[in-house]
């Protein structure tokens, strides 16, 4: 593994271990944002800039703000609680088992960047050859998301809209809304 990737990976590992062990929820929320930023750096190194963009903006930016917003409604420190021995050991067993299963799964995957991998020989060559000719824009990712798969993307936007409506209905913020509606009527 190249040194920059290795460094980012080690920092990511250290960050998530600290997040799991911290009792200070404010520091944990900030470190979660840093973990997202490190992940975004890794995505850039893998040439997945669109994904890195999203990870940095959503993971490191917006979700950290929402964590802090939720924190302002509760206390800053995690409550001390008595846990039985099985409850202390069970989470780490589940995490290690899941991690081991995932690593076992990667053994069947082609090597990273392998040009002979199946995924690079199915649709990718056609899309790379024909995007310029059919859609006339240089960004193949945008062409696939917006045009070739436009119907899927419409569905995704509806999902985001539905999520927003769900949060608005569940969490409300109705006080703000009513006052806005009131000032609108007055003006």
């Amino acid at each position: 593994m190249p040194p920059v990737e290795l460094l980012l990976m080690l920092l990511l590992l250290a960050t998530v271990i600290v997040v799991a062990r911290l009792k200070d929820l404010f520091a944990a929320a900030m470190l979660t944002g840093i973990a997202s930023l490190l992940a975004a750096g890794l995505f850039v190194l893998m040439d997945a800039v669109d994904v890195a963009f999203t990870e940095a903006a959503v993971g490191a930016g917006v979700s950290t703000v929402l964590f802090l917003g939720a924190l302002s409604l509760t206390s800053r420190r995690e409550k001390q609680q008595e846990r039985t021995r099985i409850l202390r050991i069970l989470p780490i067993v589940i995490v290690v088992a899941t991690g081991a299963a995932l690593i076992y799964g990667t053994w069947d995957m082609p090597a990273y960047g392998d040009p002979d991998a199946v995924i690079h020989h199915h649709l990718a060559p056609d899309l790379i050859a024909e995007t310029e000719e059919k859609i006339h824009i240089p960004n193949i990712v945008t062409a696939i998301l917006a045009s070739f798969r436009g119907y899927d993307t419409l569905g995704e936007v509806v999902v985001i809209f539905t999520a927003g409506v769900g949060v608005a209905l569940l969490l409300g913020g109705l006080g703000l809304r009513r006052r806005d509606a009131g000032t609108e009527e007055e003006s």
Binding site: I137, V157, G164, L176
Partner: protein
């Protein structure tokens, strides 16, 4: 947590936010309209734009932001973004193509401009819907109070101190 009123008295935060927010919003627009050529697109642009406005709210207070973007406006824009996307698809049908076949938007040429127009329009719809949704979720978190069961209200992040039920 430190009371938000103290945060807004910090001159360094205020000065940096004042300088950064316009740049972030401009960058959001760049990502929005440059998505056909570089990385990015409607989703990333919407998130960046909303993040810029949220930084504004964190430093200058939610009230200041609500004078620019009201809660009702975010809800209308959420729907408007989705409808803009769908309308492009329906328009393509009226012009003789299939649903979301942007080539039909430009019947005069072989469809080059139609594809371009369609992608810009639907990306704009995505951007508007995403930015408005994130703003709405932020308002939902900030507008939430503990006053439902008579407990003392604590001002939420970025909210005005002393702000309670109307």
């Amino acid at each position: 947590m430190r009371p938000p009123s103290r945060v807004r008295e910090m001159p360094i935060l205020r000065v940096i936010a004042r300088a950064l927010v316009p740049v972030i919003l401009l960058f959001g627009l760049y990502v929005q309209f440059h998505g056909d050529f570089g990385p990015g697109g409607g989703f990333q642009a919407g998130v960046i734009f909303a993040a810029g406005l949220i930084i504004f709210a964190l430093t200058f207070g939610v009230e200041a932001l609500r004078q620019v973007v009201s809660v009702v406006l975010t809800e209308r824009l959420m729907a408007a973004g989705v409808l803009l996307y769908g309308a492009v698809g329906v328009l393509a049908m009226f012009l003789g193509g299939e649903f979301l076949n942007y080539s039909a938007l430009d019947p005069l040429t072989t469809g080059h401009h139609g594809q371009h127009l369609g992608i810009i329009a639907i990306e704009l719809g995505v951007g508007i819907a995403v930015a408005a949704t994130i703003m709405r979720v932020y308002y939902a978190f900030v507008g939430r109070r503990l006053d439902g069961d008579g407990e003392a209200t604590e001002p939420a992040l970025g909210a005005e101190p002393g702000e309670g039920t109307p």
